[in-house]
Assembly symmetry: C2
Homo-oligomer: 403 residues x 2
Amino acid sequence: MKYSYVSHLYCPKCSSTYSTKDQQQLCTCGSPLLVAYDMEGIKKNLTPDHLKDRKPDLWRYHELLPVEDESNVVSLGEGMTPLVHLPRLGDAMSLENLYIKDEGLVPTGSFKARGAAVGVSKAKELGVEALAMPTNGNAGAAWALYAARAGIRSTIVMPEDAPEITRNEVAISGADLYLVNGLISDAGKIVGSAVKDQELYDVSTLKEPYRIEGKKTMGLEIAEQFGFNMPDVILYPTGGGVGLIGIHKALKELRTLGWVKGDLPRLVAVQASGCAPIVKAWEAGERESEFWHDSETKAFGINVPKALGDFLVLDALYETDGCAIAIDDTEMLREQKHVANLEGNFVCPEGAAAFAAARRLRENGWIAEDEKVVVLNTGAGIKYPDTVDIDPIMLEKGDVLPK
Amino acid sequence: MKYSYVSHLYCPKCSSTYSTKDQQQLCTCGSPLLVAYDMEGIKKNLTPDHLKDRKPDLWRYHELLPVEDESNVVSLGEGMTPLVHLPRLGDAMSLENLYIKDEGLVPTGSFKARGAAVGVSKAKELGVEALAMPTNGNAGAAWALYAARAGIRSTIVMPEDAPEITRNEVAISGADLYLVNGLISDAGKIVGSAVKDQELYDVSTLKEPYRIEGKKTMGLEIAEQFGFNMPDVILYPTGGGVGLIGIHKALKELRTLGWVKGDLPRLVAVQASGCAPIVKAWEAGERESEFWHDSETKAFGINVPKALGDFLVLDALYETDGCAIAIDDTEMLREQKHVANLEGNFVCPEGAAAFAAARRLRENGWIAEDEKVVVLNTGAGIKYPDTVDIDPIMLEKGDVLPK
């Protein structure tokens, strides 16, 4: 039995195919590439029962991942994050079956670790010695740390005002860290020219095909954790959209394998009101989004004015009868408090936006009371020290607490 | 079959026993209380095979935990953290079998979540409506968030200079948060008098008996993850020492069950040179430690001048032929970089101290090259933004990266 049943790469726009044996970036037509597997081979050799004896990390799905030789796996134990029922918050929203999938519990504290684990592993398999990426923070942190474990040199360029904690993570990995007095788009241009000149593997969002495969495992896990029954709705905070694209791909693959049946869950792309290009495109019924000027939100992970994979996100929404919805920062931060107060989850602002979206979609009837709803919290709240208002009472030594 | 085989509480100093049906704090003799189980009952009804179908969280060991009714379990999905081989760091230390047990991957980002999950669950079972604790940060964060999920009101008192991130966690939980212009001992006095006056359940370290049981699961997991073969050495950053006491208790319980055999691993208590009361006591062959004046270290989690359970920690070291060792802050922070550079783990300073201890104990021959060594990383590095030196290169828009 093979470790991976990876078959080839294909372009979802022009249908060109490419080999997984060489380093690939975008299709010649400019589209991101997707990974195909020998699904018949997997069907013959793998059943859900095989998973039971495997470790609770994302490599339990190795047949459906692109790394062919197990010795190339670069893992810090990422994956199989908790899927937890939230009865008290659900009660407050009149949603009986509200769940959190908590991606704060992975190395580097955000779901970016999944993409980095699989992406770096495949880069190692393909002989990459140095990689480079522009980042708003979390992705750079994850890729730099996994690259360190792989012995791959990394060059990370981030805006000067990217969060300090992610900067720390990159610095301590030993990566070459550059701060640019500008936006992630400026960082992207600097990386773009360096890649050409210096033989660096460009791991910008969707410019290499394997990050999606790592993120896909969120979808595989949700299905497995529900005993291979699908939920009705999955809400995902959407910036670059790779997580949502990945979950959609995962569920379609599981359906091809016959492990899940019936309609896919309705996928919901949640954005910030200050940066909502996907929402605007979905509302207009478009297949691609337009660049969102002067974007602004405290949820920096979804501050992405134009995603390279926007058409894949929109496809996922249309195919599953899903929707797109924008939440403003005030509502987002209010919801962050609700979640912590009622359930003890300190979610990131992006995750809080997705909870606020669930609340709104329940209120307007788009979600029914008894539907099974999964909200993805894409990172740990502790990575965002500036989102919490503190109003503690100050005491002196020997003081007595007020009753 | 029962959910829990909890039997009673006993005092390790004077052997008095207490019921687990009522709220208990310390023994009348002043010692912390320990939890006993009906081990014969567990032997008859549970085998390691039963664990295979259970979720990868600490409640998989529910027979060996004190919560009797499953409906009282307050869980955010904590436990079964990764145990990961570190070949590159091991090579640099000439330790072939070096492993990290990574407690950064739990809710609230530190191992304190284990104690809080079990402690709060049992408090709920015992009808507690309000709890209080003094904290240096991480414990307060964990207990406040779990208490929120349980619907229990919490009062948290922390020194003004406790880390901002843990302060945020407490605040967002909705707990009553007080900052004291003093040390944790001053916070402790304020909590102590409030407990008497206001019917609060005192959950200060070891003043309630169930926190140890949560921490114990680290030992259970290490054993299970190694297929119920024990490692040779376990290194633990030691402040209050509850984690080390818990691991010791777990391994003895597994031996009583016959699930593991032979000598227990040698347990190592790792402290900071600026606060090393256990090390001093161990070096002198004492059974208790003395208060350490003017303690100071960047690893605030192990800044505990005198632990209530010091005698239990020292017992664990003597019984297992272990040792105690102090690491200074400079060495600790250097090791933190090594770990990240070579393996991609961004460990907390306390965890880094334990890695530095492994390095030193290998150098002086106390650990042999082929021994199986587990280092506990007790929290996520991202919770300690001040420990990383940043020296990024600044760029302007349109700049080119240096070769």
